[in-house]
């Protein structure tokens, strides 16, 4: 059974149909990249998987549970599905360590001491040892983004969603963040990434989906999609990027 299973999902904002029948399966431990032009609905798709946006038709199963079931405990779902955004969205009034500790302590009510040990380990893992007590306002974009990743990981999710997490960073810091994600993937974390970093997608992804105007135009292993795309739209998009 796939960990995440998206079936014929339709999603509109008012009259605007943003997703028009999207399907994808993500197996445990897989790294999936979603690419496509701006406005094609990539962010919307990822937000639907986390239940931040609802859908009008179709189904999204995470570990066999329907995300759009009104009876579903949204909190239980979100514990399984971590998400990292383009703009990091750290809590500016909390230090890096507090940012990472907050949800497990306040929401999951886990013992503070235990969470702190885990949070420090996570901060070390994203190579930010020494920055524990620094506030987000005093961290660079790349550092903030890595704190955001650690913060999501502190909830021990089964799958991580990344929405263009390097798009707001300068090229130098992009590398640090991508390295962190790469390590995460190597450890077997299931990842769904929206990205414009084609080199990264090629290297890390098991499977790449190309979306355009709310549909998945084609998908396949990166070496296949990047070199012998069948669809004209995919080829055009890739030629613009490379």
């Amino acid at each position: 059974m796939p960990l995440v299973s998206v079936r014929d999902v339709h999603k509109s904002f008012g009259k605007l149909e943003v997703l028009r029948g999207v399907s994808m399966d993500v197996k445990k431990g897989e790294v999936v990249c979603i690419i496509g032009p701006s406005g094609s609905g990539k962010s919307t798709l990822i937000r639907c998987i986390n239940g931040l946006n609802d859908i009008q038709r179709g189904s999204i199963l995470v570990e066999g549970q329907e995300v759009n079931d009104p009876k579903l405990d949204k909190l239980a779902l979100r514990k399984k599905v971590g998400i990292v955004f383009q703009q990091y969205n750290l809590f500016p009034h909390k230090t890096a360590l507090e940012n990472v500790m907050m949800a497990p302590v306040k929401v999951l009510k886990e013992p503070k001491r235990e969470v702190e040990a885990r949070a420090r380990a996570l901060i070390a893992k994203v190579r930010l040892s020494g920055k524990e007590d620094v506030y987000p306002g005093h961290l660079s974009g790349g550092q903030q983004q890595r704190v955001a990743i650690a913060r999501s990981l502190a909830m021990r999710p089964d799958v991580m969603l990344f929405d263009e997490v390097t798009a707001a960073l300068d090229p130098e810091t992009v590398k640090e963040v991508l390295l962190t994600i790469k390590e995460l993937a190597a450890e077997g974390m299931t990842c769904i990434l929206v990205t414009h970093e084609m080199g990264f997608a090629r290297e890390v992804a098991d499977h790449v989906y190309f979306t355009d105007r709310g549909v998945i135009v084609e998908h396949g292993p990166p070496e296949e999609l990047f070199t012998e795309a069948r669809d004209e739209r995919t080829r055009r998009f890739l030629s613009q990027i490379f």
Binding site: L75, R78, I83, Q87, N89, F91, P92, K106, V107
Partner: protein, 248 residues
């Protein structure tokens, strides 16, 4: 304290005629101290009530229910657009007439004292402004930050309590300082329903002793000191809470 200052003011009175009787007469001194204490309690409790109302009201204003939002809107309009003096009179004489009297063993007392009515009325008055102040603070908190909390399993109340409100509070502090200072000043109106706070007390003192200018001076200085302390305290808080690496 009294023993220390009494001789000085006694002499001042004898030599110049300036009658600061509250500083050398034991009875008037005790009255004065009680007045200070009642005034400070009135400021404290009505401020706390106004803050609770502000926080809850602003939260309701983020809710989905149009009915709830409408009720809070109506409350804000009503209390911001009527004089606080009229509100006090309305609460004390209007609503007070309908509250039961309790047997205090022989004599009867209203269940809700004038002091309590003043706290309620002033708290509700100040709260109407606080709802607006917190609401605009909340609107200034980036939606994405609250969304990040939501995606980390925070319930909507937890998101409000741990993320939105702490940030909104910081944004709101300058406006809040203004309103709380204004509320502290407005507590002097409780004088009209005979709450023995500073204004009422000194009014009694000057009626008994015909020393209006002296007591007026004391009254002025009392509010200058109280307001300065509140403003200084809130400015210190503002500094302490300033977000590291953001703005100022």
């Amino acid at each position: 304290m009294f023993e220390l200052i009494a001789p000085i003011f006694q002499r001042l009175f004898e030599e110049t005629g300036w009658n600061f009787i509250i500083f050398y007469d034991r009875y008037e001194y005790d009255r004065f101290v009680t007045g200070i204490s009642i005034s400070l309690q009135l400021i404290l409790w009505s401020t706390l009530l106004s803050l609770v109302i502000g926080v809850l009201g602003a939260w309701v204003q983020t809710a989905r229910s149009a009915l709830l939002r409408g009720i809070v809107d109506g409350y804000i309009q009503l209390f911001r657009n009527t004089p606080p003096l009229i509100q006090l009179l309305f609460f004390y004489f209007g609503l007070g007439a309908f509250t039961p009297q309790v047997d205090m063993g022989g004599y009867y007392e209203p269940m809700i004292s004038a002091f309590t009515w003043a706290v309620l009325s002033l708290g509700i008055f100040g709260g109407a402004f606080n709802v607006e102040i917190f609401r605009s603070g909340i609107e200034a908190v980036p939606k994405a930050t609250a969304e990040a909390a939501e995606s980390l399993c925070f319930s909507s109340w937890q998101t409000y309590a741990y993320v939105t409100l702490p940030l909104a509070f910081r944004i709101s502090l300058p406006a809040l300082t203004n309103n709380l200072v204004s509320l502290a000043k407005t507590t002097s109106l409780a004088y009209v329903i005979s709450v023995p706070e500073m204004t009422y007390t000194l009014n009694q003192v000057w009626s008994d002793n015909i020393n209006v200018p002296e007591m007026m001076l004391v009254l002025f200085l009392f509010y200058v000191v109280v307001v300065s302390l509140i403003a200084a305290g809130l400015h210190a808080l503002e500094k302490r809470l300033a977000l590291p690496g953001y703005g100022r």
